[in-house]
């Protein structure tokens, strides 16, 4: 377990900022304690300092996880956000997409969101903007990238993809092994 290097921190923050923008600051400076990011086995964990101290006692090969896993660094040092970070992205998301009940299941299986399944979308979403996907009941379902800007979404035909899927909560069941 080690702290992130400058480079790694920069890459990660860039990625996260795509979804929550400057609210990222709120992740770091929290009123109820100091939280930090730690790297362990190529995965980034977001954890409070108190917990980190306990985890420091555990040897590296026996430590499986601590706090919340945000994502992992790939072999080429790109950062990939996992669905486990959804709990922290959802409250601070700047651009949101709501999908209709019928399209929920499809998204939870890992498919992209089509225009026919689109319920609402935040105004002035630009193309390729990171978005958080919600159900109509305001339950966060995952996140993705907007394939079309809000204006284009209105014009496009119903079978066109409007949100590229990146992560969804169905992965808890589908990809249980890769979460660790």
């Amino acid at each position: 377990m080690r702290p992130l290097t400058e480079e790694e921190t920069r890459v990660m923050f860039e990625k996260i900022a795509k979804y929550i923008g400057e609210n990222l600051q709120l992740l770091v400076d929290r009123p109820d304690g100091t939280y930090c990011f730690r790297l362990h086995n190529d995965r980034v964990y977001y954890v409070s300092e108190k917990i980190m101290k306990l985890a420091a006692n555990i040897s590296g090969d026996k430590l499986v996880s601590l706090g919340t896993c945000f994502g992992k660094f790939t072999k080429t040092h790109k950062f990939r956000l996992h669905v486990t970070a959804l709990d922290y992205l959802a409250p601070y998301a700047k651009y949101k997409v709501w999908i209709k009940p019928g399209a929920e299941q499809s998204f939870l299986y890992g498919n992209h969101v089509l225009k026919s399944g689109l319920g609402r979308i935040t105004e002035n979403t630009s193309q390729y903007q990171g978005v958080v996907v919600y159900s109509m009941a305001d339950v966060p379902l995952g996140f993705g990238v907007a394939a079309k800007s809000t204006q284009d979404c209105r014009k496009v035909d119903p079978m066109a993809i409007v949100v590229f899927h990146q992560a969804d909560i169905g992965e808890y069941v589908r990809h249980e092994e890769t979460l660790t």
């Binding site: 109820d32 954890v47 306990l54 996880s65 909560i169 249980e176």
Partner: protein, 819 residues
């Protein structure tokens, strides 16, 4: 037979290549189906054929399956096949009689068996005939017809010798009595009919007799001989009836018993029947019979056949039970709150959607968890800001419940405290990670240790939950394999592991924690060896005691069981059963640790003796009586050097103290040899600290008092030196005083000055001591620390005051001399 039979499909006919390709099932299989020519040439299903066969034969006891259809095709077109078949049947009957004779040894088979066997054998062996006959029939494919006839003839010819060979082999095997298994594999349906009916034929008759007489005569225990004949598939109905009868009889044994049959015979019969009916192994059933009274036993066994209702636990970090219930009902789930004892539990009666895959589940609004698994966490009652260890946490249900409870009170400080979730199984740890992330529990650290490695890795937890791996005898409804694969050594192995884990868990708890100091031990087993025995073991081995779990329902744990006796506080543990509480079998015990020290059972007084006391007596066993003070002194010096080098574990023994005192005496024996020898002799005699020895023993006698004045008798200094701080202090204050003390304080492991001191002491001791006595006394009295100790020493050494005074004086003298 993967292809569907479609009678409307026409077969292609003609000599072309395409026609020769495989046809639909109806054409291919028509060759094998024997019922083509039977009964209006209608194609019957297998069941219809059997019915037809039965009708043909007429008698219920002898279900002939395909005999007549076989017979009918026999006089078919192929004369060879037919005749061969006929010949075969005739021959077979001959062989079959042999076979039956062989089988008859196994069990007295009536003729019905023979006929049944006939039919089966015919079936088996007549397949070739069938092939021939079928092929010879007109409605077979013409394509194959031209070739098939020849093929069939060839096949027939081939089969004939094959059939002959098979017959021979069967005859051989019949003689060996092995045929039975072959036939079983061949045609199982027919087998079942055969076996079930001809099963134990005697019992059939007896059963028939019983059924007829059941209203008239009371239940008759079958004679002992018959009990062993239940080897082959007994009639389950009959067994069940017998179980009920025997339970009824045993309930009122005096009145209903049969004369001449003992209770144990009935019990044995019952055990066997229960094992048969519910498919249990003998070992486990024996254990259950010990655990439950008979009426409960049957209920327990019945309950294990049925799965417990599905329950789930709301995740209050993300939703409320009310909202969740509403959302799930909207999806089509039929549910109810779990009970008064749970505020977050819901029980699911039925569901139109998979309950483990709803969007609410994926969003982490609830967790599928057994009702009994919610109880240990309720018993643990974790508070906020506590450090909690969950030693065997997979798959994470209880851990997440702990996390939820920890964060429940304040919305601001969600997920307070820290939880360390540990498990020894790497694959199951993945589900822990997944579940904790899904449910949004963030204050956890997940590790992969063997639970026994705690507290070495990290300890000092406020609360610990140990859900120990067990034999699983409480969750038989989830895993029926437990019925048969658990053995005595499995249970004992589990118990051993649980004991080790429990001791490690106890050591990981911090008894001085402000809010905690609790440990919950739970298993999903109902065996006493894994539950009460393990708890009792822990009570003996560690400073813990049992406290009430806080669960007001559930059965109390046993305080005695068969030959074992447990601590009475075991009544505060709780047992849960599937048949009484409708949840999985469970056992929960809650400990409170009241001291962090680990009780040692070998050592007696851990505080009184110095570690280096050991060597002196060994080196100078009988020095006091020697009349060679110089030698003694030398030996003493050597001993002290050795002592200085070595550090021995604390062991108190009067003998060693004696030795020490003797050693000390020997040092001083050079000058006041007379007095000291006398004193030493007295020391020897008296078992109480006298003089130097007194000081040494005083800690024993008045162990609590810390005798801190080194100016006192050197023996006392020895005692002081055991308690590390004072000697140092005194050293600084009275260096002169110390050096003689050090001579006797060679026992103190720390001092590097001892040899030096020893030498000094030796020298100085040789000086006349008497003039210094008073000074010594004064000095002794002067020091603040010494105030208590002289009085103490005086008090304790009241037995030999003169010697003591002399010694103290002498010591004081030596001290003064040094100063």
């Amino acid at each position: 037979m993967g292809r569907k039979l479609d009678p409307t499909k026409k077969e292609k006919r003609g000599p072309g290549r395409k026609a020769r390709k495989q046809k639909g099932a109806e054409t291919e299989l028509a060759r094998f189906l024997p019922a083509v020519s039977d009964e209006n040439s209608k194609r019957l299903s297998s069941r219809a054929r059997k019915r037809a066969a039965k009708r043909r034969l007429g008698s219920a006891e002898f279900p002939e399956t395909n005999k007549s259809p076989e017979a009918k095709p026999l006089p078919g077109k192929l004369p060879q096949g037919i005749s061969a078949g006929a010949v075969q049947t005739a021959d077979k009957k001959g062989t079959q009689s042999l076979f039956n004779a062989a089988r008859g040894k196994k069990r007295p088979a009536p003729s019905s068996d023979e006929e049944e066997e006939d039919s089966e054998e015919d079936d088996v062996v007549n397949h070739g005939d069938l092939w021939d006959s079928e092929d010879s029939d007109a409605d077979m494919v013409d394509d194959y017809g031209a070739d098939s006839n020849s093929e069939n003839e060839e096949e027939g010819e081939e089969l004939l010798p094959i059939e002959k060979a098979a017959r021979k082999q069967k005859a051989r095997e019949a003689a060996a009595g092995v045929q039975w298994s072959e036939e079983e594999t061949e045609d199982e349906e027919e087998e079942e009919e055969v076996t079930s009916e001809s099963g134990p034929p005697k019992e059939e008759e007896a059963d028939g007799g019983l059924q007829i007489n059941v209203d008239e005569e009371p239940f008759v225990l079958p004679p002992a001989g018959e009990m062993e004949q239940d080897a082959q598939a007994p009639d389950l109905q009959r067994v069940h009836k017998r179980i009920q009868d025997i339970v009824g009889i045993l309930r009122d044994f005096g009145a209903q018993r049969e004369e001449g049959r003992s209770r144990s015979e009935y019990l044995n019969r019952l055990k066997k029947d229960l094992a048969t009916y519910y498919c249990y192994g003998d070992f486990l059933l024996g254990k259950l019979v010990d655990l439950f009274p008979l009426s409960e036993l049957v209920e327990f066994l019945e309950a294990n056949e049925v799965p417990r209702p599905v329950t789930l636990r709301t995740n209050t970090l993300k939703t409320r039970r009310r909202d969740l219930a509403q959302a799930l009902i909207n999806r089509g789930v039929n549910l109810d709150p779990l009970g008064k004892w749970s505020k977050t539990g819901l029980v699911v009666y039925d569901s139109s959607v998979p309950i483990g895959a709803t969007p609410e589940y994926l969003a982490g609004h609830y967790m599928l968890q057994g009702a009994s698994s919610m109880l240990p966490v309720m018993a643990l009652a974790p508070q906020e800001h506590e450090r909690i260890l969950d030693m065997c946490s997979a798959p994470g249900g209880k851990t997440s419940y702990i996390g939820m409870r920890e964060g429940q009170a304040a919305q601001l400080m969600k997920n307070t405290g820290v939880i360390l979730a540990n498990d020894a199984n790497a694959e199951r740890l993945k589900s822990v990670v997944g579940n904790l992330h899904r449910l949004g529990v963030t204050n956890t650290v997940i590790s992969h240790y063997d639970g026994r490695q705690f507290p070495k890795v990290v300890g000092g937890f406020d609360r610990v939950l140990l859900d120990a791996p067990c034999s699983g005898t409480g969750v038989i409804s989830k895993d029926p394999a437990v019925k048969t694969n658990k053995d005595e050594k499995d249970i004992l192995r589990c118990a051993h592991l649980q004991k080790e884990l429990l001791l490690s868990a106890i050591d990981s708890v911090n008894a001085t924690s402000k809010t905690g100091g609790y440990l919950v031990y739970c298993t999903c087993s109902i065996m006493v060896e894994e539950n009460e025995w393990v708890v009792d073991y822990a009570l003996k081995k560690r400073n813990v005691r049992l406290v009430p779990t806080g669960l007001d329902f559930g059965q109390e744990g046993f305080t005695r069981f068969r030959e074992r006796r447990f601590h009475p506080s075991l009544r505060s543990t709780r047992r849960f059963y599937p048949h009484t509480h409708n949840m999985d079998g469970f056992f929960i015990a809650k400990f409170k640790k009241f001291s962090n020290s680990i009780p040692q059972f070998q050592t007696g007084n851990s505080e009184t003796t110095t570690p280096t006391n050991v060597d002196l007596p060994q080196v100078i066993p009988k020095s006091e009586n020697s009349s060679q003070p110089a030698k003694k002194a030398k030996r003493a010096a050597k001993a002290k050097q050795q002592l200085q080098k070595q550090q021995h574990p604390k062991k108190a023994s009067p003998q060693k103290l004696n030795g020490i005192s003797k050693g000390a005496d020997s040092e001083l024996s050079t000058i006041p040899s007379v007095t000291k020898t006398q004193a030493s002799s007295r020391l020897q005699d008296s078992s109480q600290p006298a003089g130097k020895a007194e000081g040494i023993r005083e800690p024993k006698v008045a162990g609590k008092l810390k005798q801190r004045s080194p100016k006192l008798q050197s023996s006392k200094k020895v005692a002081f030196l055991k308690q590390n701080a004072p000697p140092k202090g005194t050293d600084t204050e009275t260096p002169a005083v110390l050096s003689p003390s050090k001579t006797q304080a060679t026992l103190k492991p720390k001092d590097g000055r001892q040899p030096f001191g020893r030498a000094k002491g030796v020298e100085k001791q040789q000086l006349p001591e008497q003039p210094s006595k008073k000074a010594a006394f004064q000095k002794q009295n002067g020091t603040p620390k010494g105030l208590q100790s002289p009085t103490v020493s005086l008090v304790s050494s009241s037995h030999t005051p003169p010697a003591k005074r002399r010694k103290s004086q002498s010591r004081g003298n030596s001290q003064l001399l040094l100063s």
